[in-house]
Subunit: 346 residues, 2 copies
């Protein structure tokens, strides 16, 4: 059987704020059968993850390229790989069979071909919506969990600040921190998000950073006794303001710097004298380095969701053609929670 | 017996590059006897430590003030406290007696009065010059030792970069790193210092940063396989260049940022995308938090010195009146090794 597979490509490298016109849809004829002896899978994509970090891979050149698969360069006109959940349509690999539900590195397309050795695992469907396997039970969740527990090394009662707090990772970090027994303040880009953080996610406080003129004073107001942990998703002035307001032995988990991704001249310049005198640690991390906590992450997270203690925020667009606008919208702060695109019904 | 005690004070707070004219000498009559019942010591200062960090305490206001005794504000016209070695002249504290050699927090003066509870310890003179108890066997040494072993967590064979490498701390970090089995490159501000690093201290390579126009390329040249550890004493562009050239899981010990002390607008703005993708840790620290390695520090250091494997660089000026120029000279890079002022013979 042959189908027409549609997929999204980048026209050229992107060095500033991405536009929908930076992308185009391509089509190709795809046979849904595998040649005998070929060790690969053909999968039909159900949900695809839309993540800010992908912009870094779309740039002309990054000094960090090739240091991790997360940073591997995307080439114009080629299929763009992305995390997602799919259904196996045809398998040339004994470990997988038709109709298996799989999660891992796919492409921004309706179908993906995954070679043997590709980063794909069978999904153990434990009664949650399939979309959960793209976000809260996948890398967004692990990033939040490992970042908070392994990098921030929290103690009960500590004061935690989370930026981009209504995003895929931030919304979980704040909730893990509350469940653990910390005082948590988040910032976001609209009053609607602020209300959600306080009313639905249980943050102690939240503020709309766009309404603030002096972030250092803002944080001083929300943390009169200082910040112990800053989970940074945005970089730039927010990081500087957080360092200024940190307590001794404060920790910064450097998870993302979305405010810098679209502007290569934009940088955080934290006061390093503060970093010394307050013995602050700033640590960059990637979830993939923390697979040793994977089991704990899954069991804790499943338990919290089942108990109704962890709210899962998903922001789902529909159809392949919505991928460019979904991606572009990340940098305008359009999404609330994990952004993904659904391509087909389960 | 009464003497005339001379001491150095600051005329006003100092917010830029310090000048000798920012200081003045004061004199006071001092009785060298202690009133009965008064729990204090009068000591005659022999060597006083001259350290860049003291400039931060002389500023109008630092957000880090009061977070540590190192950051306590100095007030104009008052005696400036500083680490040093002294001889007890009169004691009202049973644990000390006349002629004891003591080290700890003194003042930039010919005599100091130390109240009970002051940070003073008896020096166990183990056959080294007394000046060693101001630098290599005191906080400069502990800073280098704890910073390198506890913060940088080195592995044999790793590539280490040290800035201000001919300074009191840098010169020791580089040597500890060599003795431990690392590859070590240092930078300094003159050819004379560079020669010393390579010929006397055994650094693998060294360069004069003032002759370089693009520090990122310079470090790429000296570290074609990347930097694993950066021991930062200077901040600003050097920190940025080091982060750009770091390997995955690189560590930055943030020990000092002398290039920023004299210019509050000057800041390092390291690329945080690199920090994430390369999982870099940047950690500020103070030696005083690492007293648990003190015994190891002393025994290792003494052993290395006695074996002729660790060179001790001391840069000694003479007489109280030389304190302002000694201090001001730190920010011009005048000193080679530990800067101190000798006030009296042993």
């Amino acid at each position: 059987m042959e189908v027409t597979n549609r997929y999204v490509v980048m026209r050229n490298h992107i060095d500033g704020t991405p536009q929908e016109s930076d992308f185009e849809l391509k089509t190709e004829a795809l046979s849904l059968s595998i040649e005998p002896g070929k060790k690969e899978l053909i999968v039909k994509n159900l949900y695809l993850s839309i993540d800010p970090y992908q912009l870094n891979r779309m740039k002309q050149k990054s000094s960090s390229q090739e240091t991790t698969s997360f940073a591997r360069a995307v080439k114009p006109s080629e299929a763009i790989d992305a995390y997602g959940v799919a259904r196996v349509v045809a398998s040339g690999i004994p470990a997988f069979k038709e109709d298996d539900l799989v999660a891992g590195l796919l492409t921004w397309g309706e179908y993906s071909i995954v070679k043997e050795g590709g980063l794909l695992n069978k999904v153990d469907n434990i009664g949650f919506p399939i979309s959960h396997h793209v976000g809260v039970l996948a890398f967004s969740g692990l990033t939040a969990y490992a970042g908070f527990f392994e990098i921030c090394k929290p103690k009960k009662g500590e004061k935690v600040f989370v930026s981009a707090a209504s995003g895929s990772v931030g919304s979980l970090v704040g909730q893990y921190a509350k469940l653990f027994g910390c005082y948590v303040v988040g910032c976001a880009s609209s009053q609607k998000k602020v209300d959600l953080l306080k009313q639905k996610l249980g943050f102690d406080e939240a503020f709309n950073y766009k309404e603030e003129t002096d972030l250092k004073s803002t944080l001083k107001r929300y943390f009169p006794d200082g910040i112990d942990i800053y989970f940074d998703n945005v970089g730039a002035e927010m990081l500087e303001a957080a360092v200024e307001n940190m307590n001794t032995f404060g920790r910064v988990a450097v998870c993302g710097v979305i405010s810098e991704y679209t502007d290569k001249g934009r940088r955080a310049a934290p006061n390093m004298v503060d970093v010394i005198y307050k013995r602050i640690t700033m640590q960059g991390f990637l979830a993939g380095d923390h697979m040793k906590v994977y089991k704990d992450f899954i069991s804790d997270t499943v338990e919290h969701i089942q108990a109704g203690k962890l709210q899962v925020l998903e922001d789902i667009s529909h159809g392949l053609e919505s991928i460019p606008s979904a991606f572009v919208g990340l940098f305008r702060g359009d999404n609330i929670g994990k952004k993904m695109v659904q391509l087909a019904d389960d």
